[in-house]
C-alpha cells in the first residue's frame, strides 16, 4: 500500500492548528543550545509545568546578555552549552535567588576548572545572592577551562547539590571536535576524533526527576522540612519535560521555562547520536525499541583499547542505565533488515529504497491482520503496517501519523517512571520516528 498524495498531509496539518507535532521540527537533527566560548549565566527562580497539569517552583540557569544586561527566564534544564575542543571556555555565574536559597555554583565533571571570584565552597567557588549586597549589584564567579577532548558532558550545581540539582540547576555541555578526524569527511559530523563516531543526527537525552514535596517545601520556605532521606520522586523528565510535552517543538510559548523537546527522527540507514546524560540522582534504564544501539563513549571518553583505536570496545544493547552525574554516547541505526517481509509493501518490480534489505524485497506480509473492530488502533498507527504506508482509520482517530512513519518508544524500563504524578501516560516516554526515505526531516 503506497502513500497517498501529500494533499491529505496538508489538510491534517491545518486541522492540527496550533500544535505542530511531527511536521518539520526545528530540531534539524541537531541539538538546540548556546554556541560559543563565553557564557554568562544567572541562577534564577521560576516555575515549570508537568504533563499532569501541575506546576513546581524551579531554580535554573538563565542566559544573561553581557551587552544589554538583560537576563532571560530560568530554564529547565539549563542552557545546553556547545563549545569547541581546545578553545578556552569562560562561564560567569551570578545569583538572583533569594538569600535563604543559598549560594550557587557550577561544577563541570571531567574538566579541569579554574574558578575565580565569589567565595570558597565545598566543591568549588560559589556566589552569594545579589540581595545580600544591597546597592552593590551582582557578585560574580567565573569558571574557566579548556576542554581537551570532544564529547558529551554535564554541568551541575556544586552547592548543596542534592537540593539544587533537584531544583533544576544542571545542564549539558557539548564539546565539538576541533577538526575533522583523520580519514574523515569534512561534510560529515563526528562526535569524537575518530571516524567511527560519525553521525547524521544528534539528540539530547538528559534524564532527571522531581519529588514534588521538596518543591512545595522550597516554595513555602520550610527549609527545615527538606529531607532527602525520604526522597520519592513522582515526576520524571527528559530534557526538562515529561511526556507528552516533550513531543512539542523546541521553544513552544506554552512551556516558557522548558525550552527543549525530545523528538528524534531519522531515515533508514542513518546514524543517530544520542547524548545520554544522568542529570539527577536516580538511575534510569532507558530502553530503545526498534533496534539496538552501540555505546561508543562514557564520560566523554571513547570506549577504546588505546589511543587512535577508536571505539573498538563499544558494546551493543537495547537498554542502558543513566548514571547520575555521568554521560554516555550512543549510536543508533535502523534498516528493517531480515524481517522476512517487505517493509514497504512493494511488489517485486518496484525499485529498491535506500538501505532496503534486498533479499526481502517483494516478500509478502506474513499474517492476516485482524479486522478493524477486533483491535484497538493506537494514536500513532497509520492504518498500514508498511513504512510510509497509510490505511483506513476508524472515525475519531486523529491521524497523527500521516507520514506513515515507524514509531519506536524510547522509554525508561522502570515503568513506574512512565507516569506523571500518578497519571499514565507521562514521564520518561519518547518516540523515535523512522520516516520513509521520501519524508523530509529538516
Amino acid at each position: 500500500m503506497d502513500r497517498i498524495g501529500k494533499e491529505i498531509n496538508m489538510w491534517v496539518v491545518v486541522l492540527m492548528g496550533a500544535v505542530p507535532l511531527f511536521f518539520g521540527t526545528s530540531a534539524q537533527g541537531a541539538i538546540v543550545g548556546e554556541t560559543g566560548s563565553t557564557f554568562h549565566l544567572m541562577a534564577k527562580r521560576d516555575v515549570i509545568v508537568t504533563s499532569d497539569g501541575d506546576s513546581f517552583i524551579m531554580w535554573g540557569y538563565a542566559i544573561r546578555d553581557a551587552v544589554t544586561g538583560k537576563t532571560g527566564r530560568a530554564q529547565y534544564p539549563g542552557p545546553t552549552l556547545i563549545v569547541t575542543e581546545d578553545v578556552p571556555v569562560t562561564i560567569t555565574l551570578r545569583n538572583d535567588l533569594a538569600p535563604e536559597s543559598g549560594y550557587v555554583s557550577i561544577v563541570f565533571p571531567g574538566q579541569e576548572v579554574t574558578a575565580t571570584g565569589g567565595l570558597p565552597g565545598l566543591l568549588t567557588r560559589e556566589v552569594q545572592s545579589a540581595e545580600i549586597l544591597p546597592g552593590q549589584g551582582y557578585e560574580q564567579v567565573a569558571y574557566t577551562f579548556t576542554p581537551r577532548e570532544p564529547g558529551t558532558y554535564i554541568y551541575r550545581s556544586g552547592t548543596r547539590a542534592d537540593l539544587q540539582v533537584e531544583m533544576g540547576l544542571f545542564g549539558a555541555l557539548i564539546v565539538r571536535p576541533a577538526a575533522t578526524p583523520p580519514g574523515g569527511d569534512p561534510a560529515k559530523k563526528y562526535a569524537y576524533n575518530h571516524v567511527d563516531s560519525q553521525y547524521d543526527q544528534e539528540y539530547l537525552y538528559m534524564m532527571s526527576e522531581m519529588d514534588p514535596r521538596i518543591h512545595r517545601q522550597v516554595e513555602e520556605k520550610r527549609w527545615g522540612s527538606i529531607d532527602f532521606t525520604t526522597y520519592f520522586p513522582t515526576n520524571w523528565f527528559i530534557n526538562g519535560r515529561n511526556y507528552p510535552d516533550l513531543l512539542a517543538e523546541n521553544n513552544v510559548p506554552w512551556l516558557p521555562t522548558q525550552p527543549y523537546n525530545c523528538q528524534p527522527r531519522m531515515h533508514p540507514g542513518e546514524k543517530v547520536l544520542i547524548r545520554f546524560i544522568g542529570a539527577g540522582r536516580d538511575i534510569h534504564p532507558m530502553h530503545f525499541h526498534g533496534n539496538d544501539f552501540e555505546t561508543i563513549a562514557v564520560d566523554g571518553r571513547l570506549l577504546s583499547s588505546g589511543p587512535g583505536a577508536g571505539p573498538d570496545l563499544a558494546w551493543r544493547a537495547t537498554t542502558i542505565k543513566s548514571m547520575p552525574g555521568q554521560t554516555a554516547d550512543l549510536i543508533w541505526g535502523w534498516t528493517g533488515k531480515e524481517l522476512g517481509w517487505d517493509i514497504y509493501g512493494h511488489s517485486p518490480d518496484d525499485p529498491l529504497e535506500p538501505y532496503e534489505y534486498a533479499p526481502n524485497h517483494g516478500k509478502p506480509f506474513p499474517v492476516v491482520l485482524p479486522p478493524r473492530d477486533a483491535v484497538t488502533y493506537g494514536a500513532f498507527y497509520s492504518g498500514s503496517p508498511f513504512l510510509g504506508g497509510e490505511g483506513e482509520l476508524p472515525p475519531g482517530h486523529g491521524g497523527l501519523n500521516a507520514n506513515g512513519g515507524y514509531f519506536y518508544m524510547w522509554h525508561s524500563h522502570t515503568e513506574k517512571e512512565l507516569t506523571s504524578n500518578d497519571i499514565w501516560p507521562g514521564g520518561l516516554i519518547s518516540f523515535m520516528i523512522v520516516e520513509h526515505p521520501d519524508v523530509p526531516i529538516d
Partner: protein
C-alpha cells in the same frame, strides 16, 4: 485499567488528540495463524516454523509468605481448539508467562488471544506482546500499542518474527506498560544459535555463535527478576484507584517466586488450585560443568544487584542479546562478582564450576533489603545452586 488523567489548560489540545483513540468494539474472533499446520493441532509440519498460542488475561499467584495476589499475565493455549480458548483458558495466567524458545533461522508465529479479565469485567484492556530487544523490529509486530493495532477482548493477533539473531530476550505486554507489567505480564524468551549441535571446546550447546566455544554451557537456567507491589495488585483486585505514584515492589522474585519457593521443584498452586507458577529456579550442576544463566529484570520500580557464593567470578559473555565483542572482535566480556540488572536489561552469565567443591551455594541479591517477601525476612531474590560430585 484504562485510566485517563485529567489535564488542564493548554494541554487539552493534545488531550483531545490522544484520548478516545482507543476505539473499541466488542467482537469475538479467536484465530490462530500457523502456516504448515495441516491437522489443526497448532504445530507446523514445516520444521522451520514454530507456532505458539498464548492467552492474555488475569489470574492469581501465591507469594512465598502465603499472600495471594491478583495478576495479569499470559497463559498457555498451545493446541487448544479455538472454540475452547475463551471457555477453558480464562483466569489461567501464568507467572512468569510461558517460556518461548526458537532456533536461529526459524520463523515464529505467535498468536496471542485476549481472553479478557474475569475478575474485572469492567476492564476492556487490549493486550499485546512485545519481544524485548528484537533487532530491526517493525511496529506492527513490536507490541507497542501506540503505533499498532492491539487485540481487543475476545480476539487474537498473530505476531510474526524471523528469528535471525540468537540470544537471551524476554517478552511482555506493552499496553499501559506501568500497569500491565507491574501486574505480571512478563515471560522468558530466547533464540538458540545456529552453532548448537557442533562440538567446540567440549560443548555442543552455546548461548551465541561464538566460534570458539566461549559461550558453551552444560546446563542453562532463566533468571527473570521482577517484583510485585502488593498494594497495587490488591487495588486492582478490589476495583480501587491504582497507586502509580506510590508504586514500590516489596515482593522481589526470581521467575515469579520469592525464596524459598524459588528452590521448590514443584509447581506452586494459586488460590484457585491452578498451577500459575511453574518455573522453579533451583540450579543444579555437576562440579566442573558450566552453567548458563539467562538473566533479565522486568521490575517496574527496582534495579537488582546479585552475586553467588560459589567463589568463582560470574562471566558475563553477552548483554542485550549481543555477544560482548567489540566491532573488530575484541573480547569485551566481563568477569564480576556482583552484577546489577536494571529494568529492561538482559545478560548471559556463565558460571564455570571447575574446582568448586560439591555442596549447596546461593545466588542472592546484594541489595540485601530485597531478601524479603514483603514484611517477611529471609526471602525475596535468592535461590540455591546445588553442585553435585562428578
Amino acid at each position: 485499567m484504562m485510566k485517563r488523567g485529567t489535564r488542564y489548560g493548554s494541554m487539552m489540545v493534545l488531550l483531545a488528540l490522544f484520548v478516545c483513540l482507543w476505539v473499541v468494539t466488542a467482537s469475538a474472533d479467536v484465530h490462530v495463524q500457523c502456516p504448515g499446520d495441516t491437522n489443526g493441532d497448532g504445530i507446523s509440519e514445516d520444521p522451520n516454523i514454530v507456532c505458539r498460542h498464548i492467552t492474555g488475561g488475569d489470574g492469581y499467584t501465591k507469594m512465598a509468605d502465603g499472600l495471594d495476589l491478583y495478576i495479569f499475565s499470559f497463559g498457555d493455549a498451545d493446541g487448544v481448539p479455538v472454540e475452547r480458548v475463551i471457555a477453558d483458558r480464562t483466569l489461567k495466567a501464568q507467572m512468569p508467562a510461558p517460556t518461548i524458545v526458537v532456533k536461529q533461522g526459524q520463523e515464529l508465529y505467535l498468536t496471542m488471544t485476549n481472553v479478557g479479565m474475569v475478575v474485572r469485567p469492567d476492564l476492556f484492556d487490549p493486550h499485546t506482546v512485545h519481544w524485548h530487544g528484537f533487532p530491526n523490529a517493525a511496529p506492527i509486530f513490536d507490541g507497542l500499542p501506540e503505533p499498532s493495532p492491539s487485540a481487543n477482548m475476545g480476539n487474537s493477533f498473530t505476531y510474526y518474527y524471523n528469528a535471525v539473531v540468537p540470544g537471551t530476550y524476554f517478552y511482555h505486554c506493552h499496553v499501559e506498560a506501568a500497569e500491565h507489567m507491574q501486574m505480571g505480564m512478563v515471560g522468558n524468551l530466547w533464540v538458540t544459535p545456529a552453532q548448537d549441535g557442533q562440538s567446540i571446546g567440549g560443548f555442543t550447546k552455546f548461548a551465541y555463535n561464538d566460534g570458539d566455544g566461549s559461550t558453551g554451557y552444560d546446563v542453562a537456567y532463566p533468571l527473570l527478576l521482577t517484583g510485585f507491589d502488593s498494594f497495587f495488585h490488591i487495588a486492582s483486585d478490589t476495583v480501587q484507584a491504582l497507586p502509580f505514584a506510590a508504586m514500590f515492589d516489596e515482593y522481589p522474585m526470581i521467575n515469579g517466586r520469592g525464596y524459598p519457593d524459588t528452590i521448590n521443584p514443584n509447581n506452586i498452586l494459586n488460590q484457585e488450585g491452578f498451577a500459575a507458577q511453574i518455573t522453579p529456579t533451583i540450579i543444579t550442576a555437576s562440579t566442573g560443568q558450566r552453567i548458563l544463566l539467562r538473566v533479565c529484570n522486568i521490575s517496574t520500580t527496582h534495579q537488582y544487584s546479585f552475586a553467588t557464593t560459589l567463589g568463582v567470578p560470574m562471566k558475563v559473555v553477552a548483554r542485550g542479546a549481543a555477544l560482548l565483542r567489540g566491532p573488530d572482535g575484541k573480547d569485551t566480556s566481563m568477569e564480576v562478582n556482583v552484577l546489577n540488572v536494571g529494568g529492561g536489561q538482559d545478560y548471559d552469565v556463565i558460571l564455570d564450576t571447575s574446582g568448586v567443591a560439591p555442596g549447596t551455594y546461593f545466588l542472592y541479591t546484594t541489595d540485601l533489603a530485597n531478601l524479603s517477601n514483603g514484611k517477611q525476612e529471609r526471602g525475596g531474590i535468592m535461590t540455591e545452586i546445588v553442585i553435585n560430585p562428578l
